[in-house]
Amino acid sequence: SAVISQKPSRDICQRGTSLTIQCQVDSQVTMMFWYRQQPGQSLTLIATANQGSEATYESGFVIDKFPISRPNLTFSTLTVSNMSPEDSSIYLCSVEVGQGNSDTQYFGPGTRLTVL
């Protein structure tokens, strides 16, 4: 298993500013993922972050808006840039642990972002 923490747990931000969310895991993992959950919606994958390479973004998400860092095997950050009220969401990181058919994604507690 894996224990994941996120900082901050919540924040209220002004339009046009940026927020960096941190994700820390208690063990070394290869793959980390960032998801967004907008109000009343499901979780949507933003990007996959592997250590030592550029993050891979899903359709509809771009690096300029959501830059990601992955400096080592236990840590990642997601920045929400130039925020607008539409960015108000819960942002979650997850990590994959295990191999083959037994690999499992473990999720962090989420960061609740409100943009005014």
């Binding site: 793959m31 993922f33 919606q41 499901s42 979780l43 949507t44 994958l45 996959t48 899903e58 359709s59 979650l92 994959e96 058919n101 690999d103 499992t104 994604q105 473990y106 999720f107 962090g108 507690p109 989420g110």
Partner: protein, 109 residues
């Protein structure tokens, strides 16, 4: 592209009654299907996956490729089953999960 549909947003059942959460998917390749659960004030966690073919907390789910479904079932609901349930899909060998919108289950004592 993969898509997961959970048609019912809220499901209320009495304790001891059966519960079934519907999940349909669309994906052209070979998928892996999962059910995730989020209890109140807890983080999202894996409940079960179709590959394991196991029963977790009394829940089972069978992958029906003909109907492209992965419905979650439990014969006798318990109060502690009250939670948010998400069906999810990933392409086989690729762990990029696509989630459904979720079902809020309320078990009435």
């Amino acid at each position: 592209a993969q898509r997961v549909t959970q048609p019912e947003k809220l499901l209320s059942v009495f304790k001891g009654a059966p519960v079934e959460l519907k999940c349909n998917y669309s994906y052209s390749g070979s998928p892996e299907l999962f059910w995730y659960v989020q209890y109140s004030r807890q983080r999202l966690q894996l409940l079960l996956r179709h590959i394991s073919r196991e029963s977790i907390k009394g829940f089972t789910a069978d992958l029906n490729k003909g109907e492209t479904s992965f419905h979650l079932k439990k014969p006798f609901a318990q109060e502690e089953d009250s939670a948010m349930y998400y069906c999810a899909l990933s392409p086989r060998g690729n762990n990029r999960l696509a989630f459904g919108k979720g079902n809020q289950v309320v078990v009435i004592p």
